[in-house]
Symmetry: D2
Subunit: 129 residues, 4 copies
């Protein structure tokens, strides 16, 4: 995510105080998680449906952060909670066979990183209240 | 959504009691809302970003309902809350110029229907506890 | 897809002659195919990756038909060809175990219907030249 | 895209000779283009629908490259052609007002880079025949 593009997004959020560095890190973590989940889902292991759901939710979360016009703090919180919940489900499913699959281990790590990044945005919103 | 396909999905949710008729209605409402929002977003009115976010979230909600393996009640609740929140944002944005745009009026109605359908699934989960 | 919404889309395509009934049928077939593929992919059979690709492509095809502003006949033809190709791949994969899975059989039928609907739009564009 | 993840994808493409470095560069270019288009579409300029279509197609192209199981050379070519076509449409729309919008200029550059990356994969497939 380019600095100029980030500036353009900042103007889209009048009245919502957010830590733009945390937002940028979160969008990157969502993109990385979508990719890891997409690859992981092709293994046809029991985690596949959870991986696909997580990939779609991370993409939707990332896009929403790029399109904040009209977003309210309550809607943003609900999205972050849902993204964290879906990463948790995917991570739990992948950890069940992480010993047998390096890809699952990597996917679980990407889910954890995405959850952490979403939590950071969440905290920055609460701190800014 | 075909009856046989619904049967196939039911087996994917051991241990989670849900009203399958409410689920089916909700998937249909999500699909209809995604379509209305996609068309509405092309009008280049101020609601467009909210419409695009809502379209993506409704698609992710619908797909998650078709891929319930691994889902927990908590994750499902978080997803329903996020979908309801995004429909609310989109509806509020569209209602600001619903007098000038029949498409916005239709999009707002699709958002309301999707919120109602998500709330029904939510209630069926609480009732089944 | 509502008649009024179809009217709104028609105005988005100045200079591109298309059979709007064929377009409407194609959007419906894409939506149905996305749903069948999404359910089919949860079976963790060898067709799953092809089903997921087909689901994503059908969704992108449907949305593009709802957002024709700026589209050229050449781009539309390329999209239809790609959608047909991805449905073909998915159908071929599903047919390999259609005897063992009713869901695969249904998914293959949805792919065939989507291919046919895309071909109809393609033909209507060629006829209108 | 992590080296180990790339290895895992390579095994998914028996019988299809592709330049994995070109594939990796193309997936990165698709992801960057999806993000640029998503931001650009929020400007509510005439390019918005083309940007949204391009974002969806680039995401579908990227995911397909991560899920090559079952893909045929013909289907891969059709997807690359469609992705190139959609980037071209988006770039043309954005260039019409690139003088007035830095975001459009950046989006057009991301489209050009994605087209080039897709063309490189295309050429590597033809060379490997």
């Amino acid at each position: 995510m380019d600095a100029m593009m980030m500036d353009s997004m900042k103007t889209a959020m009048p009245g919502m105080e957010m830590d733009m560095a945390a937002m940028q890190a979160c969008m990157d973590a969502c993109a990385a998680c979508e990719q890891a989940c997409t690859v992981c889902s092709t293994q046809l292991m029991s985690c596949s449906p959870a991986c696909m759901n997580c990939a779609d939710m991370c993409n939707t979360m990332m896009r929403t952060m790029m399109r904040m016009q009209g977003m309210t703090p309550a809607a943003m919180m609900a999205m972050l909670d849902a993204c964290i919940a879906m990463c948790q489900v995917c991570m739990d499913e992948c950890m069940e066979h992480a010993d047998n699959s390096e890809v699952c281990k990597m996917c679980a790590a990407a889910c954890q990183a995405c959850m952490d990044a979403c939590a950071m945005v969440r905290e920055s919103m609460i701190a800014a209240r």
